[in-house]
Amino acid sequence: MSDPLELTEIPERTVTSAALPPDQRTPWHKVVHNDDVRRLFACVIGGFVLALMTGPEGDGINMLSGVDGALRFPHLGICLALTVGLWVLITVRHRFGERARTASARVSALPARLLPNAKFRGLALVALLALAIVYPAHLNGYWQSVLVQQVGIYVLLAIGLNVVVGYAGLLDLGYIAFFAIGAYSDAFWTGALPIHPPANLNPFWVIPIAIATAMLAGVILGVPTLRLRGDYLAIVTLGFGEIIQIVAINLQGVTGGAIGTGTIRHFALHVLGINYVWGLDPLPYYYLLLVFVVLALFAFHSLEHSRIGRAWAAIREDEIAAEASGINVLKYKVMAFAIGASTSGFAGTLVASQIRFFEPGDFTVQLSILILVLVIFGGMGSLPGAVVGAAVLEWLPQYLHVHPLFGFQQQDLYIYFGAILILMMIFRPEGLIPSRRRRIELGLAEHGIGTADAMTAGASPSEPAGLP
């Protein structure tokens, strides 16, 4: 017995074709409408796609060598077996109906069910923090580096973008630009750029300046553009990211151009008798990152549960009603932009001072989208989601690199991420660890109530969503 509220698709025809007179029979290409058959079809195609994804790379000489190599047995056979196996699982689940469905529903709701329990959460957080402080010292150098450069940085970036995309519902595709601004601020104030700063600062003290600069950039970008509708905002932010990169490449006198910056100094803390210089060892960077991540988590959690978080939720739900209830929508959107930019700016500074060199080609649109994938995968609007999503998607490829698994190649990472985005949107839009509100919004939208985001079609790109 299916849930009466569940929207089921009604097959186009329920009468067998053969029973009808010839001119009324379903044309052959429409016979494949049965849900299970259609799903099998999709899984078979998926198998081929998987084969391509996990297959060998093209060799640059024979253009079809990659495709050719991928579509050979046993490789193709294994891929097809995997996807058809998936089909079997899904079909069985459907056939066994109720019991299987509630079981799987219970499993998928598990993360959200465990977390709200306050005591469990508090204990878990303390344990996690202890682990985070103690464990990394026991890892080898490679993994410590990964922890900093992959996991740590991207967790920070994901937390920041989560504020923009998750809390305020704004699609920012140029997020990496704030990272770049943070990095260039660091380079500038430590004298690593062709133009000289008014004062040559210790990079550690550049951190607050970089954060402030990134936030200012967020405001400057936001004020003119946040009046725009969702998809236009996305394009404009994309363009902004591009412009930052182009400017960085072409203003050689200012930014060092395509060649990049001079050597940037490491962080150094000389205050109150503490004399500490960060060096090449990744571990101190990790602890610095950890401090900021914890601070950011605390700050953003507080924001989420304050009137500001509620205002953002209202804006996401219904901009018109929010504005009519006294919320200055533009101000809160700009605020989200600026606050989101802050973690990005800090991350940029940290990477700049650790690696000591960068060039404009490091700040690509690919990276902006990558951070988006992390947030979406983990759960839009969910702090634990952003952290876990980023950690998993950054750690896993490194792990698979060291312990190879069937066909996974490091350089194909983005292919997987692209597929993840599509699949997440279709099968689990609320993400790995959904925020409670988001799950409710999506559930309502599926039943036709509301639209689960602030991007309903306005009459023109500059009109707010859903004008009466």
Binding site: R307, I308, A313, A321, A324
Partner: protein, 293 residues
């Protein structure tokens, strides 16, 4: 001393206590070739329940949208006389600022925050007056915590006032229809308005819910001292609530007056029902000639 000059809507100022709340003068709103409002003038007195009626498409919601800053009229003035003495024009002012000035509204189709609870919906209205910024929120400053406690108390009070206390934790989307209307009013009241614009609050409600609504609106007006500007199609409701009525048709004001006057106004009757029937001789002619009219 009464002023000799008549008010914008043609009615003389009847007494020194004609304390004007809103003055709309010659408001004109156009969309491309379509004129939605044409030279609309009306006034509302403080504490009054004024109703705007008219056939569909007459421009009533457009009027609301001009009053709340959603649309900017091409011509005309709208002046809002606040209790603290400030006179503000709300033409072209953004909706959230209009709300700050003291005008709140509900929508024709209830625009609630569906994924939030009843309590949270009202809280959003109340918190719009809060002065807590991101810093205060992050640092959990004492004044932030005080504000939140006060906001919670206000929300509870408002929920009790509209009779939704028992539904405080329910998701707004799960509320029955009549409760949704009341929630929207509660949220609007949370913003502390002097004037409440209600856009067809009774649309789609059953008679029992309607009665409750009338009662609620009266209490809003009398117990909380909030002036009400009401768009409604239900004439029974209008007649029982409104002290004065403004009638719109095709974007123009065709009549203003007390309920009794409006009911007998021929222009109003024509607007709603079409031209009055021809006098008796005409009918006789038809009967005699045996032809269709």
């Amino acid at each position: 001393m009464t002023s000799a000059a008549p008010l914008a809507d043609g009615l003389p100022a009847t007494s020194p206590e004609a304390d004007l709340l809103v003055e709309v003068e010659k408001l004109t709103l156009r969309f491309g070739g379509l004129t939605s409002l044409s030279q609309v003038s009306l006034t509302q007195r403080r504490g009054e329940i004024l109703s705007v009626i008219g056939p569909n498409g007459a421009g009533k919601t457009s009027l609301f949208n001009c009053l709340t800053g959603v649309y900017t009229p091409q011509e005309g003035r709208i002046v809002f006389h606040r209790r603290d003495g400030r006179d503000i024009s709300v033409v072209g002012v953004r909706p959230h600022r209009v709300n700050r000035f003291g005008i709140a509204r509900t929508f024709q189709t209830s625009r609630l925050f569906n994924a939030l609870t009843t309590f949270e919906n009202v809280k959003i209205g109340v918190e719009s007056r809060s002065r807590t910024g991101p810093l205060g929120a992050i640092l959990h400053l004492p004044h932030t915590r005080r504000e939140e406690r006060a906001a919670n108390a206000r929300v509870r009070e408002l929920l009790e006032f509209v009779g939704l206390t028992h539904r405080a934790a329910t998701l707004a989307s799960s509320l029955p229809y009549g409760d949704r209307r009341r929630l929207e009013i509660a949220r609007a009241l949370g913003t502390g308005p002097e004037l409440l614009l209600l856009d067809e609050p009774a649309a789609g409600t059953n008679p029992a819910e309607k009665g409750d609504l009338v009662d609620l609106i009266r209490r809003v007006n009398r117990d909380r001292g909030v002036s009400v500007l009401l768009i409604e199609h239900d004439m029974g409701l209008v007649m029982s609530l409104a002290e004065r009525i403004v009638v719109l048709n095709f974007g123009q004001v065709i009549a203003t007056g007390s309920p009794a006057e409006i009911q007998q106004n021929p222009a109003v009757i024509e607007a709603y029902l079409g031209a009055p029937e021809a006098p008796a001789e005409g009918a006789g002619d038809v009967a005699e000639s045996g032809e269709g009219a």
